[in-house]
């Protein structure tokens, strides 16, 4: 009997990229649902409907962008009818995971974002950041972050700056009024104004659509770590670095432990750490690289947060760090098993650099 030649190995694992993406999608849907319920309880029906509309628009536009793209780009395939042609776009669209991008984007947008801005931001995320790069897997920049930043720059203050629909976000208030140079009195007073950390954690915060779901984000993180769909060191190192830098800064300012906590809970930091910084496609490919990425991501986030008028530094810093991914991959290319000590030393050096740069810049410029 004759057989066709096939290269070895001849067996494959059962986990599939499809399962991984589905798990992330489930985690995102969970966060979305939690957020909508929290918004309903805290702010009422109008607010929730507005959020739901933005989410729905983002999802529909993301899918349509893919369908249209693949209707045009058929790679020379011939179809007997338009329906055939339309059908052929379905598997291709599915492969690109548009819903994941759409949900990450929508959850990061302020509730007051105008619908046309949502549409444009989504098209940018799907078309320019993903499809033009050859689709899922080929993209260099995090699509959702591209959507956020491009949407924000093009359509002005509504997207990134204080949220007109729902009132100023805590982040905008702090940045605008104090430039993050808080005293115990202003800081604690500010937090008390929101009812303390617990409500901040559980939902009574106006801001991005996903903001009221910080607890859900943490639960989703645990779920995804348990399902092994992301590398836990990324959010862990990222948040640890943020805490270390802001902790040292709090010593400089002479304020209490609430200060780093406020930083971690502010803006899209937690959400971005879990859902954007962990996107495997746009982050380094090995452990050491990912740790370096997380450390420098924290540095960039805080440098922007401390020193610019942009309150939403997460998406920017993700895009900036995305550019360094090829370099990090190259610098961490050695045999992972043979050089543990060197790798640990490298990580420590990076950590010290990140702290020095952030604090040095902030203190000298401020």
């Amino acid at each position: 009997m004759r057989f066709a030649y096939k290269p070895s190995p001849h067996i494959k694992a059962r986990v599939s990229t499809k399962d991984i993406l589905n798990t992330v999608l489930i985690a995102l849907i969970f966060v979305t649902a939690w957020s909508l319920v929290a918004q309903f309880i805290n702010f009422g029906t109008d607010y929730v409907l507005r959020s739901a509309l933005i989410i729905a628009v983002a999802c529909v536009v993301a899918i349509l962008t893919n369908v249209v793209f693949y209707l045009v780009k058929t790679d020379g395939q011939k179809f007997s009818s338009f329906v055939e042609r339309l059908k052929s776009t379905v598997p291709k669209t599915k492969k690109g995971a548009p819903l994941i991008t759409a949900l990450i984007l929508a959850l990061s947008l302020p509730v007051g974002t105008p619908i046309y801005a949502v549409i444009i931001a989504t098209i940018f995320a799907e078309f320019f950041a993903k499809l033009l790069f050859g689709g899922f897997g080929g993209n260099v920049f995090n699509p959702a972050a591209v959507g956020l930043v491009v949407g924000g720059i093009t359509f002005g203050s509504q997207v990134i700056l204080p949220d007109v629909y729902a009132g100023a976000t805590p982040l905008a208030t702090i940045s605008g009024l104090y430039g993050w140079r808080l005293t115990d009195a202003t800081g604690l007073g500010f937090i008390a104004g929101y009812g303390g950390f617990i409500p901040m954690l559980f939902g009574a915060v106006r801001g991005s659509i996903g903001d009221p779901a910080r607890v859900a984000v943490l639960i989703a993180l645990v779920f995804m770590i348990y399902k092994r769909v992301l590398d836990w060191v990324v959010p862990a190192v990222y948040i640890a670095t943020v805490v270390a830098i802001t902790g040292l800064f709090s010593l400089y300012l002479g304020v209490g432990i609430w200060y780093p906590t406020l930083h971690v809970l502010s803006g899209g930091l937690l959400f971005g750490a879990v859902f954007m910084a962990t996107d495997p496609v746009t982050t380094p490919v090995n452990r050491q690289g990912r740790i370096l990425f997380a450390i420098f991501l924290a540095m960039v986030t805080l440098v922007i947060r401390f020193n610019s008028s942009h309150t939403e530094s997460m998406a920017f810093s993700i895009l900036i760090m995305n550019m360094f991914v090829p370099l990090i991959d190259r610098k961490t290319a050695n045999i992972t098993k043979e050089s543990t000590t060197m790798k640990a030393v490298g990580v420590c050096i990076a950590f010290v650099i990140a702290i020095s740069v952030t604090l040095g810049l902030t203190i000298t410029l401020g």
Binding site: R287, T336, K337, T340
Partner: protein, 446 residues
């Protein structure tokens, strides 16, 4: 295993139950055998017979004549009927000596059987190995005597009976039936290398085998080296992960140390052999007859009746498959694979009409193995599971743009082609194949 490197191994469904529990079947009366004039990559042989010559079991019919000396022997008694090119497990055609069996099983011993191995000197052991052409019997086929040539200070001889490849139970079956020969072979290798310690490593889930080996080990606790040092004999149990049987992984697991990536186990004082090689060497010294039979595992979901079979070296695979009951009903080779060796490292072969060489311990027929390839999501799973700790996904990318400097930095030439990366890839990408192509490209340009 490490924080930065990941687990460096994979866990696969071992599928050993298909053959492990069944008794060994025999297929010892092939009409013809075909002895390939090919050893590892070499086809340089002196042929000592002509068409029409009469041969017996053990008649030396050819000898490899380049940088290794490897004799080949007839595995049946009968007549040489042809020397011709045929399909070979390496996929390329090679010359084979075809011998027609006269079913008389006349034997031509190579030397007088040795009654007491204790009379042998260190050099005797190596000389006998060279004389009888023993080779690694679970895949690589490396000439056993050659392993002793690099020896300086060997502390430990390790017999590798791990069989970390799924489906294969041939070594296990041989050990179950030849526990005494196994320990005698171990002592022979210890003598040949000047070691003071012998370890037999097996999968810790093989409980029946463990019992037998632990029992037998007691009988061999009273042996001494030439310097009159008591030899330590030990059976070690290792986890059922892949590639646990790779020397580097095995030594790290059993002996607890790693050694320079540029070096071989022997540089770290350890010589590693396959357990079946040890058994067959001891048998040869006892009988004076070179290797002429072996146990092969025929398994996989594509076969009606997976089975370990004792066959003559050079038997045609198809005959043995038919003897066990053939392929499953409705078998379609279009969505199946035939593999010489294990599912990880075995090579995909294109026909079942080839002869079974001494070095191959299994032939598998797997069905429905194809999966739709998805885009690489750069998840790093291939990196984490690579036993060497190199970065397959990056190597493939560097190869695509022909970046030799980067390929060097990535340690491209270190790939052992174990297949763990492809197995671990959730996008079902043939990363191992890309990496081995990259390695060949890199080595050809360096």
């Amino acid at each position: 295993m490490g924080f930065f490197s990941g687990p460096n191994q994979v866990i696969a469904d071992n599928a050993k139950e298909l053959t492990g529990s069944k008794p060994i079947m025999e297929y010892l009366k092939p009409k013809t055998v075909a002895i390939p004039l090919k050893h590892m990559k070499s086809e340089a042989f002196d042929v000592h017979v002509e068409v029409g010559d009469d041969v017996k079991i053990g008649t030396k019919i050819a000898t490899r004549n380049d940088n290794f000396t490897v004799p080949l022997f007839s595995s049946v008694s009968g007549k040489v009927i042809a020397i011709e090119k045929r399909d070979h497990v390496t996929l390329k055609k090679a010359n084979h000596i075809i011998i027609e069996n006269n079913f008389l099983d006349e034997k031509e011993p190579l030397f007088e059987p040795i009654a007491d191995f204790r009379t042998l000197s260190r050099d005797d052991v190596v000389n006998y190995l060279k004389l009888d052409g023993h080779q690694g019997m679970s895949g690589d086929g490396y000439a056993t005597y050659a392993k002793f040539e690099k020896v300086r200070h060997v502390r430990t001889v390790m017999l590798n009976g791990v069989e970390c490849e799924p489906y294969i139970t041939a070594d296990e079956a041989s050990m179950m039936n030849n526990a005494d020969l196994l320990f005698e072979g171990l002592l022979l290798f210890i003598k040949g290398s000047g070691a003071k310690e012998g370890i037999i490593a097996i999968d810790r889930n093989r409980t029946d085998l463990a019992k037998i080996l632990n029992e037998t080990a007691k009988k061999y606790s009273d042996h001494y080296t030439d310097q009159n040092i008591k030899i330590k004999i030990q059976v070690s149990f290792v986890p059922d992960t892949y590639p646990m049987g790779w020397e580097r992984t095995l030594i790290e697991e059993v002996l607890g140390f790693t050694y320079d990536i540029n070096k071989y186990p022997v540089d770290a004082g350890v010589l590693v052999f396959n357990t079946t090689t040890a058994i067959e060497f001891a048998r040869t010294l006892k009988t004076g007859l070179p290797l002429y039979e072996r146990v092969v595992t025929l398994s996989g979901e594509g076969l009606a009746n997976p089975q370990n079979v004792r066959v003559r070296i050079g038997t045609i695979l198809k005959e043995v498959i038919d003897e066990t009951g053939g392929y499953i009903e409705g078998f379609d080779p279009k969505n199946a694979r035939l593999i010489a060796g294990g599912p990880f490292m075995g090579s995909g072969i294109i026909t079942d009409e080839l002869s079974i060489p001494a070095a191959t311990g299994a032939f598998l027929s797997l069905v429905n193995t194809e999966k739709e390839v998805l885009p690489c999501l750069r998840c790093g799973s291939c990196i984490e599971h690579c036993p060497v700790g190199i970065q397959p996904v990056q190597i493939a990318a560097a190869h695509k743009i022909r970046d030799l400097d980067f390929m060097e930095k990535l340690g491209t030439d270190r790939c052992i082609e174990c297949g763990a990366c492809t197995f671990a890839c959730p996008s079902f990408i043939e990363v191992a194949d890309s990496t081995s192509k990259a390695k060949n490209f890199y080595l050809s340009r360096k």
